[in-house]
């Protein structure tokens, strides 16, 4: 008997009991359901929620694999900086990937295990079907945390994020805030020492701190915030051979993911483009302020304000946030005009928070969460504006 048949039998057996949603979820996740809708005419589309989610996961896979290599590469390069002279030969090695396997895979497994566990428990208590919303969140979470994040912290954050960020609002599709970013924000506010500084971004740097083998892995933004120069070239920054959260360093692969999402019409190109535009505008404003000598090199904001606007687009989590977080269809604006405003403000505020935040030189997740809250308001005014325009048109006609 095939697995499908087995699952189907189990599903029938538990039908009507409390455990039914759990078996249903496993069954429909792996296979097409046996029974299709009867009667009437139906428009059939291949992209149900599960397929949509799977497309986003596919777009994230390159970032994950790159992040696994990068985990090892940053570790070894921090010990022996000569590795950086020949990136391409030293990057795709099995040693690098092995560190990725032992450090990144547990993050993925814990994120999925805990998150889906919470989803299943809620589905069983509330008696609804298990929703697929966590499939993408579970993949996003390991990519946006520092590599050395302890697993128990991640578990607590995931439980918090799924319950407070999503389930209290009624589950997938009803949430105001992006759950993955809620998890990231919880980690940031709860355990700041594990989320910022120059030790957490490179594997093993925390354990080695204070010993003779100490290594440092300050992010580019962290160095700029302290008015220091960095050793990475623009090529490194674009391709992602830099320290940072697990999967957000490679702007190149993120853009490939973006192309894929736009091609499959899952991600909104309006949001992606306008986010980059907003960030570029804010970066240019800061560049002009520096060029006008309003901020001199003695200011603590000089380093980040001085950073060229196109560099701002490549470093930090901006590209990842713009492509994979801001475009979340549930929490973003729904109207086309609203999407432009929403994305632009995300980019604009990301760079502003990045420059002015004294505790942590990055603001993409805060900017996106803030705009998540404002997205319905933006939509409301866009719709009202349209209503008014149409009313005026009818008035003109009748007059």
């Amino acid at each position: 008997m095939s697995l499908k048949q087995n699952l189907h039998n189990l599903k029938e057996k538990y039908k009507g009991t409390k455990m039914a949603p759990a078996f249903n979820a496993i069954h429909t996740f792996l296979y097409m359901p046996n029974d299709v809708t009867h009667g009437g005419t139906h428009i059939k589309a291949a992209d149900d929620l599960k397929r949509t989610m799977n497309m986003v996961i596919l777009a994230l896979i390159p970032c994950l694999l790159f992040g696994m290599f990068n985990a090892g590469y940053q570790h070894y390069a921090a010990i022996d900086s000569s590795l950086r002279d020949n990136v391409l030969t030293n990057f795709f090695t099995f040693d690098n990937f092995w560190i990725g396997i032992i450090k990144v895979l547990p993050l993925v497994i814990v994120s999925y295990g805990v998150g889906l566990g919470v989803e299943f428990i809620f589905a069983i208590i509330k008696g609804h079907e298990v929703e697929e919303g966590y499939l993408v969140t579970g993949m996003l979470v390991p990519l946006i945390v520092p590599i050395d994040t302890p697993l128990w912290m991640l578990s607590i954050a995931v439980i918090f994020g799924v319950i407070i960020g999503k389930e209290v609002f009624g589950g997938t599709g009803m949430n105001i805030l992006n759950p993955a970013l809620t998890i990231r924000a919880f980690l940031f506010f709860a355990y700041p020492t594990w989320m910022s500084g120059d030790k957490v971004w490179v594997y093993d740097a925390v354990n080695r701190a204070g010993t003779a083998d100490a290594i440092s892995g300050e992010t580019i933004l962290g160095s700029y915030a302290q008015n220091q120069e960095v050793i990475y070239s623009n090529w490194d920054k674009f391709m992602g051979f830099i320290p940072g959260s697990v999967g957000e360093t490679s702007t190149f692969l993120i853009l490939i993911g973006a192309a894929f999402l736009i091609f499959t019409k899952i991600g909104s190109w309006r949001i992606i483009v306008s986010t980059f535009m907003g960030a570029a505008v804010m970066g240019l404003i800061f560049n002009q302020i520096v060029a006008a000598d309003i901020i001199t090199s003695s200011s603590k904001f000089y380093g980040l304000m001085h950073t060229a606007w196109y560099e701002h687009l490549m470093i930090g989590g901006l590209a990842f946030g713009a492509v994979f977080m801001a475009t979340d269809p549930v929490t973003a604006s729904q109207t086309n005009k609203g999407k432009w405003i929403y994305g632009f403000l995300i980019g604009f505020m990301s760079i502003m928070i990045r420059v002015f935040n004294p505790a942590y030189p990055e603001g993409v997740f805060l900017a996106i969460l803030l705009m998540n809250v404002f997205a319905p308001t933006i939509d409301h005014y866009v719709v009202q504006g349209n209503v008014k325009k149409r009313l005026n048109r009818t008035k003109l006609k009748t007059a």
Partner: protein, 215 residues
């Protein structure tokens, strides 16, 4: 004969559960968020509010027939302000450190909606003994939530309870800290107090049959 009639006992126990001033009436949230980072401060705040509310209720109840209704709010404010100043001075005299932690929030008991609410809703229409019980009951309901929130925030945020290091020493790495546990800094921030409060309301509303609303 019981010490209290059934109705009087209800005055004491209702505010603890079905008619809790914080979780059901959603009053007095401000101070519940501000001062609950430590359990000790929560307890002292609860006791201060209890003293002010019980004595204030009695005073308003005694004066209820001679207060002209047009100026009753002013009279209530005078009564509560006088009591708050007394509480503030007592705190300053006997536990100066704590009164510094509570800082302005003792003074702000004046603006605590629960107090004016009980004066208006209860003390103006009932006798002094009932008003006294009502004051104790409502302040206890308020204090109960404060203590619960304070308990979790101090335990998870600082790893202590009433200042005792119950989870071990974070610097010496003893107890739970030896296996890598860390304090949750978010718990010490006010937003987390709101979330803890929300969770308490959530649990209460889903368990208490009286409070479940029709959709």
């Amino acid at each position: 004969m019981a010490l209290l009639s059934k109705k009087d006992a209800g005055l004491l126990t209702d505010p603890l559960t079905d008619n809790n001033p914080i979780t059901v009436q959603v009053l007095g949230i401000c101070s519940a968020l501000a001062i609950t980072a430590e359990l000790k401060a929560s307890i002292v705040m609860a006791l201060s509010v209890m003293a002010v509310l019980a004595l204030g209720n009695v005073a308003i109840s005694l004066l209820r027939n001679i207060i002209p209704s047009k100026i009753r709010i002013i009279v209530q404010l005078v009564v509560v302000a006088a009591l708050v100043i007394i509480v503030d001075l007592i705190l300053k005299a006997f536990s100066y450190e704590l009164s510094k932690t509570l800082s302005v929030f003792v003074g702000l008991i004046i603006t605590n909606c629960i107090i004016m609410g009980r004066f208006e809703a209860f003390a103006l229409g009932n006798g002094p003994w009932k008003s006294f019980l009502d004051g104790i009951g409502n302040a206890a309901g308020y204090g109960l939530i404060l203590v619960i929130v304070g308990f979790f925030r101090e335990l998870l945020g600082s790893g202590t309870l009433l200042g005792f290091k119950v989870l071990g020493d974070p610097i010496e790495k003893t107890g739970l800290y030896a296996i890598g546990y860390e304090n949750n800094g978010f718990m010490l921030l006010s937003p987390m107090a709101l979330i803890v409060l929300g969770i308490i309301i959530w649990i209460q509303r889903s368990r208490n049959k009286v409070l479940i609303e029709e959709n």
